[in-house]
Symmetry: C2
Subunit: 239 residues, 2 copies
């Protein structure tokens, strides 16, 4: 079990006890997070650069796909991320900000994250996108709670359009064709969670010389991990 804050999480809900339909992002505990939502321009810069990083990961998978069918499937997944990215850029345009300038400060940290999570082969790369984009979209949906109502509504709607079904179809087929992939991908998925939650955590607007109230934040991260567990479960893998 992954613990971000060094305390065991005894109350992670076992995924198989939850109905399969609860695929949506966590929607409770938003109040705790809203207090730590950065200002809109920072929120958008970081969220957009994370989409761009996901587009880069998926683009690389398009180029190296084992078959044309895989190429087509991954392009469909990448197109969804392009759509989200464009929506976030449109939000920056709307507040009169330059997209590149808002994204720039987050480049070094997110590029380090991207390098650390590349994966050793095509299938691990696909799991990288599935796991990291899944967690981060969920996180930014929750974090949007602290934005003004109109922006929050648009951004939540934009980020909610997840590629899960396409991803699950693609990965489940690969695992079925090569059952030995399962344990390796499960292990890889587990490794990704730590780095991904640290990126999420770094997006919080914590006042200087202060620490966020870990006890209040913990349920947010517990929900992110529970949603991640459900995503791995959809692949038949243990989180």
């Amino acid at each position: 079990m992954f613990t971000l804050f060094g305390r065991p999480k005894k109350h992670v809900v076992a995924p198989r006890l939850k109905p399969r339909s609860s695929k949506n992002a966590p929607d409770t505990n938003r109040v705790a997070l809203a207090e730590l939502t950065p200002q809109l321009s920072k929120y958008l810069g970081q969220a957009a650069y994370l989409q761009l990083s996901n587009i880069e990961v998926l683009s690389n998978l398009i180029s190296t796909a084992p078959s044309v069918a895989d190429k087509v499937a991954v392009t469909r997944i990448a197109a969804l991320s392009v759509h989200k990215y464009e929506g976030l850029v449109a939000e920056m345009d709307q507040i009169g900000e330059n997209a590149a300038e808002l994204m720039e400060p987050f480049a070094p940290h997110i590029e380090t994250f991207q390098r650390a999570t590349l994966g050793g082969d095509w299938y691990e790369g696909l799991v990288t996108s599935y796991v990291t984009a899944g967690i981060l979209d969920d996180f930014f949906i929750a974090l949007a709670e602290g934005l003004d109502d109109d922006a929050a509504r648009r951004i939540r709607s934009l980020l909610s359009d997840q590629a899960s079904d396409l991803m699950v179809a693609e990965l489940a087929a690969a695992i079925e064709a090569n059952p030995r992939l399962a344990s390796r991908l499960a292990l890889w998925g587990r490794r990704l969670v730590g780095d991904t939650l640290l990126v999420a955590r770094s997006a919080l607007a914590v006042p200087e010389n202060q620490h966020p109230d870990e006890a209040r934040l913990e349920p947010v991260f517990t929900e992110l991990i529970a949603a991640h567990t459900r995503r791995m479960d959809q692949l038949g893998l243990t989180a």
Copy 2:
């Protein structure tokens, strides 16, 4: 001057004599081409795989962009190609065909073309996308003339949305910052035309054991080259 069919083209229109506003695809000589338009499924498979190849070229440029601003600009250009690709896939869906199956036969040829036109650095890669996607979109717009009216109208509208302005802004800035780039990029642009026109030519539905009427086709290719010359002219480069 480039000649595809071994005959000198004496009547290529000098670009500076044409109004800048004539940036659109050639729209005469379509009748000659309509007779050689392949059936819709083949047309779509090839056009979609060419967009996908352009997306791959641009994706690589996103990952290797020299700055975040360049990354953002190229992502905007790539998003346009993703939009075209998705539109073509939607056309395949509409006629009940599987996108991957229709694209598959064109993969080897287009991948060879992609490898031959990669370019030696980031700026040459950008010129590759500008020149090859420019010519091929123009060509497939002209070739759509032989499709049924509804499909032709939708596809022409889809492919007409060109990224020229974004490309020109990006490349012109690079050339201004480093004037020595100009002659190298002009040379590279010239080299690309041959391979690109051969890919276009391979899309024609020429009956077995027959040759197309070169004399009737020549004006089509002359127009493609004239449009290419105008595109290079927009960069201040000689085609």
